[in-house]
Amino acid sequence: MKFWRQPGFWLPLVIVLLWGGTVLVLRQDTVRETAFTVLMFMALASSLNILLGYTGYVSFGHIVFFGLGGYTGFYLISEQGWPLLLASLAGGALSGFIALLVGLAVLRLRGAYFALATIGINEAARAFVSNFGPFGGATGLFVNFAAYEKYGGAGQALWTTFTFLWVTTLVVLVVSYLVKHSRFGLGLQAIREDEDAAMVMGVNAPRAKTITYVISAFFPGIIGTLYFFKNGNVEPGDAFQLHMSIEMLVMVMLGGMGTVLGPMVGATAYQGLRGYLLTSPIFKDLHLAVAGLILLLIILFVPAGAVGWVRGRLPALRRVLE
């Protein structure tokens, strides 16, 4: 598969490479913070897209993997002194494992039932963690500052975390592209269009969905760890915010689901808009309302999202705008 020859493969990667590289070179905290947030949502939205865009399964409570993985990773770093890389991977692995277990049961459901079940899982996880001693119960965990020392102090640690996130985002984009253009991905898209017909054609839907669910959960687990480590604390209210889950959905839809570039565009646009609204004197209190309005307009009039719309209008650009 000659993916390295396709412009569509390189476009998202080059953008992120250049951007992250610039941030690292500039070495300014504020620039880094903005970039961190956007990259984080890019990666989260892309992970969600692997499930939503390719199989059509709507996970409303996807943030649960961010939360559970994040908690695990944070716990390992702060309480057990694990290095960041290992702890992040462990967080991702736990999320993937939970997805495997949960998926075996929940992926049998279709459409709205699946969506509701994912909400239930998120709420159950939040309630469980609020009662779970080792994770600090309702108050959560605060970082053990010794963990930052390992990376040359808090300031330096934040830069390291950023770099990890940058790399993770690149990996997610690569995975997203490879899945889309693989035989596996074709099977997923067949599932999205008509799951029963896909099975009759030989697609092992249960297995394909489970694998996809696990992949889509793995990366949020890593990202959660990085985020909470950067923040210095984790608590149930922050880790399992249903709103964040929905925002991930909005970003995927805004940019265009089922594309690699879509979630990137969506995340950037949404974060940009949010930033503008929060700082503008008129719209300060209305940012949620404006975001809602935008989502509504997209759903009603441009359901394919920005990238989808452009691909529809300018078929020549399809190979570039994956």
Partner: protein, 247 residues
């Protein structure tokens, strides 16, 4: 024997959909499955290719008992199906649709091999010019041909055709019948549900008749057409009977 169906029985709640259906199909045979509307023909297909598991009975495909296996397992073993109500994968292109058949069928092709196989299958059914169009943009007759191409791309041993001729004009029917003959000549066995009597009677080597979920007749087309039980079954369906009597 490519297919052996033994005592297949299926219930839906209180409704007996199929009762003790038994028949065999030899390799390379075109077997016609006819019967009045609601007789359970499509349901029988659903049991044969694994969409439903029978309450009782066995399906033996090429010597292997596949009863109760899920439909994707059956497809992998070399059975493909063209549905009565066409089910294109709308957002995918025509070629991509057919590629799914090739990738996940008996031979499990890679993407590039599937692409060339898809083009071959599309040429066979006359859709080669539309390979890059989204399949949702096709009309019904073209979608039917897409169904067939998709099934063929899977290189099956046995092809299940569910009313492929429905809604076609006489010219299209003649073309399709010729295509089906060619498919059989390539070595693929065909089990077809059909209501277009003239076509199914002329093309089938053997006919089985289903009524209210039970097999009421089996034999050569001429025998079946003059079988009183069959005529009686269709008498409840006067249009059908008229067509049957024309033979």
């Amino acid at each position: 024997m490519i297919l052996q169906v033994q005592d297949v029985t299926l219930r839906f709640g209180g409704l007996q959909a199929l009762t003790d259906v038994t028949f065999d199909q030899t390799e390379g045979q075109i077997l016609g499955l006819i019967g009045p509307n609601g007789a359970g023909k499509t349901t029988l297909f659903n049991v044969i290719n694994g969409v439903f598991a029978p309450y009782r009975g066995k399906i033996i495909f090429r010597g292997e008992d596949i009863t109760g296996k899920p439909s994707y397992e059956v497809a992998r073993r070399g059975m493909a199906r063209a549905h009565q109500v066409v089910r294109p994968l709308t957002e995918l292109t025509v070629r991509e649709n057919v590629m799914v058949g090739a990738c996940f069928g008996r031979e499990g092709q890679s993407l590039s091999q599937a692409a060339s196989l898809a083009d071959q299958a599309l040429a066979q059914v006359g859709l080669a010019g539309r390979a890059d169009q989204p399949s949702g943009s096709l009309n019904v007759a073209q979608k039917k041909r897409l169904e067939l191409a998709r099934a063929l791309a899977a290189r099956p041993y046995l092809l299940l055709l569910d009313e492929v001729l429905a809604g076609l004009n006489p010219t299209e029917i003649t073309e399709m019948v010729a295509t089906i003959r060619k498919i059989r000549d390539e070595g693929i066995s065909i089990l077809m549900i059909e209501h277009v009597m003239q076509a199914v009677m002329s093309i089938s080597d053997h006919i089985i008749v289903l009524d209210y979920g039970q097999l009421i007749a089996a034999g050569k087309p001429e025998e079946v057409a003059s079988n009183p039980k069959v005529i009686e079954a269709y008498l409840g369906d006067p249009e059908m009977t008229a067509r049957l009597m024309v033979e």
